[in-house]
Symmetry: C2
């Protein structure tokens, strides 16, 4: 492993001066850096970041159909099939045919699902706090508020 050994991997690059003014670059690499921290933090748990988000949305909207969860998360319903499959295989959620509309699968969290949501959610939160550590608390809060403001009206 010589001097330039890391050159083969992407890693997190030092932002090049030509791109530090480009929001697209900043957003992409902020997202990648946080995703990396989060992935490491979630390693002990049976979910990745996307699956944790599914658990979060399901817990906040029970009982919800697969399609409702998919819409909330902004993923395709065909993608949701695989996500629910994985969560069900881990015993974190269960599918039930909706009594009123038997085309629908209502998805509910199991006890293990709720437990994982809390513990993995805490781990992901800790990763986020580490990521935001260079900022003051008000700056960190402003960042979130600003991102939300820019996301909301775009549609």
């Amino acid at each position: 492993m010589s001097t330039a050994a890391r050159g083969d991997q992407a890693g997190r690059p030092v932002p090049p001066a030509e791109l530090t003014g480009h929001l697209a670059y900043l957003l992409k690499h902020a997202q990648l850096a946080l995703a990396e921290l989060t992935a490491a933090a979630l390693e002990p748990y049976p979910v990745n970041g996307r699956e944790l988000a599914v658990l979060t949305v399901l817990a906040g909207n029970e009982p919800a159909s697969q399609q409702q969860a998919a819409q909330r998360l902004g993923v395709d319903r065909t993608t949701m099939v695989g996500l629910i499959d994985a969560l069900e295989d881990e015993g974190l959620v269960r599918r039930h045919a909706d009594a009123g509309d038997r085309r629908r699968n209502v998805v509910t969290l199991t006890e293990a699902g709720r437990d994982t949501l809390h513990r993995a959610g805490e781990a992901a939160g800790a990763a986020e706090r580490r990521f935001l550590a260079p900022l003051s608390t008000p700056d960190a809060q402003r960042l979130k508020a600003t991102l939300l403001a820019v996301i909301e009206p775009q549609r």
Copy 2:
């Protein structure tokens, strides 16, 4: 095309209340929304956002080898091959064997490359300004500074 016709596509979802506090969600969807606007803005030009970023980095660091450009952008060198291929096919860049070290390809912009950089860069900038329109100018500047602050020290 009925009421729920758009339900099949992801689109930009209304942020679910359970996730608006999660930075990972906010960053991801901000990035996706901006990427969508940028892609539409670049449609008339022979480059996408990634290729425009390559042109930008190359223009700021001529003469640069493929590997140097790859490191600056944070992409793998195997990925850079395809990016340069596409730019070369469009006549926007040229590869030259480095006189001093013939393993290296020095990549330079053509006239067309410089022209595309300026015009497509302006289009992408306009997309960014539209994306940031909900924010005051100081808020927009603060957003960029904050993202940079959080990206830089992570390595």
